[in-house]
Amino acid sequence: MTTDPIHPPILEVAGLTMRFGGILALNDVSFEVRRGSISALIGPNGAGKTTVFNCLTGFYKATEGQIMLHTPRATTDLMNILGQPFRTSDWINPASFANRLYYKMLGGTHRVTQAGVARTFQNVRLFKEMTAIENLLVAQHLQLNRNLVAGLLQTAAYRQSERDALERAYAWLKVFGLAEDANRLAGELPYGHQRRLEIARAMCTGPRLLCLDEPAAGLNPRETVELSELIRRLRDEHGVTILLIEHDMGLVMGLSEHIVVLDYGEVIADGDPHTVARHPAVLAAYLGTEAVHDDES
């Protein structure tokens, strides 16, 4: 892999290894995601795609490896902010001890989102008994005036902050074509709308890198086409980098500029769609399903 000076990487994953008990779920996974790209992570079922996602977004603490996020604001070590066990060297180095103690107490998954990574889930996870717009308001939690006193006294600054949040939420609903559903319960929306609402909610956190876990699962062909246009628009107009897991090869090949293929927890190919589709290891991994040549949907 060579570093492209015009498109520097936003995400660098190096030597990522994950063990569950005796099972080696990920073995030395390394790849990069370039800023402003649409990248995809593919592989047969059980290859470890979602495990990679869970490590990237801080739901799993990887056994080994390094994940670095480079945003214009800062470079973040995503493994560090999850809170790691103390090492022997910490006991003689107060600064690193304090750092680790801080993240052990206050670190966690939420820090990853605060650093600029947002995600959606394979099986949609909305706040089902809250309205669509409330879902988006919750996502803006960190950008709002959270001062308790200001909120209880309903100060002008607080009301302004709430109004802004509401406008932002409506703006995102419009982008996703959900303005009509604003005051409906998220759990009552049709499935396709729920999928879009979940992406809109992720966008409300102001991410630099958006991770979509099988965004087209359960969508009909028309919805899938709309979705791929939407994803492209998010990248072009709203400046996010997109990393997605997807089984729909038509969508992946048409949309992404860079593909990483996983099999049995290892990276077997990495490159643009054209190269990857012809890669012998990929063909071998998919052999039998012939999904590569078979643009079924």
Binding site: F20, G21, T50, N54, F59, Y60, F121
Partner: protein, 305 residues
């Protein structure tokens, strides 16, 4: 500190620990299979203590003076009725709630616990009840004033608990029923697809848990002699502590946790302070949950995202 006091506390702790272990089985099996804390379990144990006393009193009033027969008959009756309690509670309070919001079964369990406590209080009165000391035989090790005393009942408690544990382990590991239980615990939906009647298995688990609590109830009543309608609450939390300590969901863990809790509680009350022994046990629960929520023998839980 003389050795004999320490040894005496160890004996007491072992007895107490076996009881906690027996009750902890009910918590750990139910948690393993339906993922809920059966708050009413401690009260099922309390009911079994009352049943023991009632059975003994009825048998003696009929003039039965063969002690072994009376004990066996009491154990059998208590076991049967307590198991029926376990089955009914699951049927009434938990089964209709499958798939309900997360807090619902927990709240329903607390309701059930209140019903049992108050129901017994209403029908049997609030005063402390008891049974006469039936088996006064004791073993005495040592001479003069330095001795360790083991009553026959204490010995019985340890032997019976170990035997019950061994039988239960055999049941779970070796029989078809046990296989079905383990399969249901791993993946209820898949087990159902493979033709296991999971509702029946869940009922069975409640029945087994209640039966173990019944054994504990009989033994405790014979040993300590007195009880009231409130014993289920404190003993219940302690047995749950034992289950968590050993690793919730794990059968040997429940017994191990029970023994550790019993021993440390006996040592604490013997050497530090009797008044604060319950505080000690509850603090242990809090500390274990904070520092080692998977317990000693439990498997680490992987969060499903």
């Amino acid at each position: 500190m003389d050795w004999h006091i320490l040894a005496q506390q160890l004996v007491n702790g072992l007895t107490l620990g076996s009881i906690y272990g027996l009750i902890a089985i009910g918590y750990t099996m139910v948690y393993g299979i339906v993922g809920m804390i059966n708050f009413a379990h401690g009260d099922v144990y309390m009911v079994s203590a009352y049943l023991t006393a009632i059975c003994l009193a009825v048998l003696f009033s009929f003039g039965i003076d063969s002690l072994p027969f009376a004990l066996l008959a009491t154990l059998a009756t208590t076991l049967l009725i307590t198991a029926a309690y376990g089955w009914t509670i699951e049927r009434i309070a938990y089964r209709p709630l499958r798939g309900a919001p997360r807090l619902a079964p927990l709240i329903s369990a607390i309701g059930m616990s209140l019903v049992l406590q108050n129901g017994v209080q209403l029908s049997q009165g609030a005063k402390t009840q008891g049974v006469p000391s039936l088996i006064p035989a004791t073993l005495r090790l040592g001479e003069g004033n330095d001795f360790v005393q083991i009553t026959l009942v204490q010995l019985m408690i340890i032997v019976v608990s170990l035997a019950s544990m061994a039988m239960l382990t055999w049941l779970i590991q070796r029989t078809s029923l046990g296989r079905q239980c383990r399969a249901t615990q791993q993946d209820r939906r898949m087990a159902a697809i493979l033709g296991i009647n999971t509702d029946r298995i869940i009922s069975t688990v409640f029945v087994i848990g209640a039966a173990m609590a019944a054994i504990a109830g009989v033994l405790v009543t014979l040993n300590y002699g007195s009880f009231d309608f409130y014993i289920g609450f404190v003993t219940g939390i302690k047995a749950f502590t034992a289950a968590v300590l050993g690793g919730i969901g794990s059968l040997p863990g429940a017994m191990l946790g029970g023994l550790i809790l019993g021993l440390s509680e006996a040592l604490f009350s013997g050497m530090v302070n009797t008044d604060y022994k319950d505080v000690f046990a509850f603090s242990l629960l809090v500390l274990v949950l904070i520092f080692r929520p998977t317990g000693l023998l439990g498997k680490p839980e992987v969060e499903k995202v």
